[in-house]
Amino acid sequence: MSKNALKERPKYLNLMRIKLPVTGVVSFFHRVSGILLILSIPLVLFLLDKSIQDEAGFNGAIKALQATSVKLIFGAVLLAVVHHLSTGIRFLLFDLDLGVTRESARKISWLVLGIDVLALLLVIRWII
């Protein structure tokens, strides 16, 4: 690194100017999807609770799941499940010392993104 480059180093961290590598992106969204999944728990339990009450509750829960607005929410939850699971498996592979080289870590991250896109297409098909 030249002396000039050292001088030009930013004095603060501007999140908008940090360009994360693909491995960082999928890792960050492991956290984002995890938070979304935590927030979805009351919704899941609400529907489960309704569905076991009585006949009307069961039919109501099924009907609710067919409304576009509810489908949008559960579509996002499904995507979060898929991403959290595939990046979670990635962490388990790290524990086994697999996928820890830069090359293989990037490959796995692109694979995760590919699975995300596939899941997104399936979710869109389900909503429409």
């Binding site: 956290r31 995890g34 938070i35 999944l37 935590i38 728990i41 009351p42 339990l45 489960l48 609770d49 569905s51 076991i52 009585d54 006949e55 069961f58 039919n59 499940v81 699971l85 979670g88 498996i89 388990l92 524990d95």
Partner: protein, 112 residues
Amino acid sequence: MSFSAGGVRTWVVQRVSAVYIALYMLVISGFLLLYPIDNFSAWRTWLANPLVSVATIVFWVSVMAHLWVGGRDVMMDYLKNDALRFSSLCVLGFFILFMFAWALKILLSVTV
């Protein structure tokens, strides 16, 4: 390194619960795709099956343990203010207790 030394225990909890949650979701969704349930009484009968209900209770225990470790990690990483971090952890803790109690109440109320 003792097992009770903070990091190791939470690391194990996170991995074991993750594997159980993944297997449970895989088995349950696979089963429901093969044998779809379309009416109330079949739904209740299925949920009342001891194998299903016990596996589901263990699922919710795993989810709560998993999200305590994960949520705690996220909060400890991003919330630098002591008071805010402490109160957020309290909210997370009570959220977990209430959600688990709710899940347990639902599952125990299903009897044939």
